[in-house]
Amino acid sequence: MYRVWYSTESFADYIIDHTHLKKEKVVKNKMYESDANNPGKFHTTPDHIRKILYLDAPDCIVEKDNEPIFSIEVTTEAGTGHNAFQRFARIAAAVENSVPAFYIYPEGAIVSRKVRSKIDYTLESKDGKDIVSKEKQEVISKWDEINPLIFRALEAVMSVYDIPALLYYFPSDITKYKNKAEKSPNFLNKGLKYDSDIVRYSGCPDSSGQSMKKMFEALNEILDATEKSGVIPARKKLLKNIKIRDQRNFMQMEFAKKSGGASPDTMSPLSAVTYVPSEYVLNYLSKYEDNDYQIGELLRSREKTAIYQCNAKFRGDPYPGALAAIDYLACREGKTFEDRRNNLILVFGALTVDKKNKTISVTDENSSTIKDFFDAVQSSAKHNLLTKNYDELKNKEIPRYLMQVRYGSTYSKVKHIRVFSYFADAILFPDGSMWRDG
């Protein structure tokens, strides 16, 4: 039996109705993102689904006989800069659990911005000509295009896990109206094409679009292979499948075409990464060492450290997804964070590298403080049932209590805390630091 876990039922119906799932017996279930977001419901989610949701929740997971077959994430946001990676942790979470991941993302989305420009007018007067300057405000609409580095990041995930992580474009008018965004027939929808059946498939991509047809074909390949060989044997052969290879090749060509030869290091978020010898980081952290304590082996075991600088007040999106992507782009060589070529450090603050003294410094320019991190962690305490006695628990809280006994606050922390603490070997603030010893 197939089960479809969804964030919106429209999207579940969209996938079921446009793939071979429509011939199968399918049960639909609403997906709850975390114990932090849905304390009353999350604990009812099966364990094998919870593992995928640990970092972040995709829009849809399809499973057969309690084994996930694929996950799908869809977004309508313009994918410039860091934005393309905002949902990357969801993709990583699926693939790290050996579940093929599909990412529906616009090739571009129309954004209208107010722009001030100075215009010079020539006025004729009896004394001659005068030049008068006037400021004009106008709205300019253009396509904000996808950051091509997303294709590299997905390729890196596939290389590490041998599991498909494929991107398909959300249908749009960009091909025909690239240089005339304001003429896009779907201008009110940022140039994006939604399915014409807005009642059954509200908010879903146009199913007649070429990219969606290709995605449905790929999903059918997975479903057919699953029916023929079983979920796990089918999964192992997916990257050999021609339709999946075709999409992987397409993604590589899109990276080459859209990057125009630019180095990946110049693209967000890699452009915010500084590489230093790990010795510099250890020297910086040496202030926390004393006679009783030395920084552990993990940071020392890698020669180089990649430092992701977020010179901003502590917050979540888009940084968690970007951090996950940097891991795969610049550090990861295997299936866990222990299999890294380089350490991965997250800095909230302004980073300065001091080559003379072989160290780094982190200063505050935008109200970055470790207190915000601790406040976010402590705010999850309100979901903690473990301090209660048995007679204080309501009946409906008992299964949730048991989940927390097993997993602690794993699922009760807010998303960005979960993702940062999962991916970062260290997190540095101007007024405090945290790091992994092993």
């Binding site: 964030s7 919106t8 039922e9 429209s10 829009d59 869809v74 977004t75 309508t76 107010k114 009110l188 929808n189 939604y194 807005i198 009642v199 509200s202 908010g203």
Partner: protein
């Protein structure tokens, strides 16, 4: 019944009755249109995101939908009726349509139309109730000759 289902049932009813949907939104649909206050420069501060905007002939309807009775929604709708804080954004949204009248109201499950909800009727132009099977109930209309005669 979730808000998503309330909105989808009302969408179907409007479309079956010949209304053109300008925009719609429900949690996680990704389709919402933010309407900014007149003269606003901030990105989304004080913006509103109507759940359904539809047009038919010269009339436009704005829906605020919920899965329950929620008094702040009534207050929000009332501000749209009585103030002119979003006229620029609404004009931009309805550009291309010849609109002579806009009516603003609420959609929710019929089962939550309590006495408390009835007391708030005066704040809005209409209240539409939705049943699980999609049956639509016109629970309150400020003006009987209003757009529902066309629906």
């Amino acid at each position: 019944m979730r808000e998503e289902q309330v909105t989808k049932h009302i969408l179907k009813w409007l479309m079956d009755s010949g209304w053109k949907i300008v925009c719609y939104d429900f949690p996680q649909s990704g389709t919402g249109r933010f309407l900014h206050p007149n003269g606003s420069s901030s990105k989304n501060q004080d913006s509103i995101n109507p759940d359904i905007v539809a047009v038919k002939n010269n009339t436009c309807v704005f829906f605020e939908d919920k899965d329950r009775f929620y008094y702040p929604d009534y207050q929000k709708v009332n501000l749209l009726i009585t103030e002119n804080n979003y006229t620029e954004a609404i004009s931009e949204l309805l550009k291309g349509y010849d609109i002579k009248r806009i009516v603003y109201g609420i959609g929710f499950p019929t089962t939550v139309y309590s006495d408390k909800a009835k007391e708030a009727n005066g704040l809005v132009d209409f209240v539409i109730g939705v049943e699980e099977d999609g049956t639509i109930n016109k629970l309150y209309l400020r003006n009987e000759e209003d757009f529902f005669k066309m629906a």
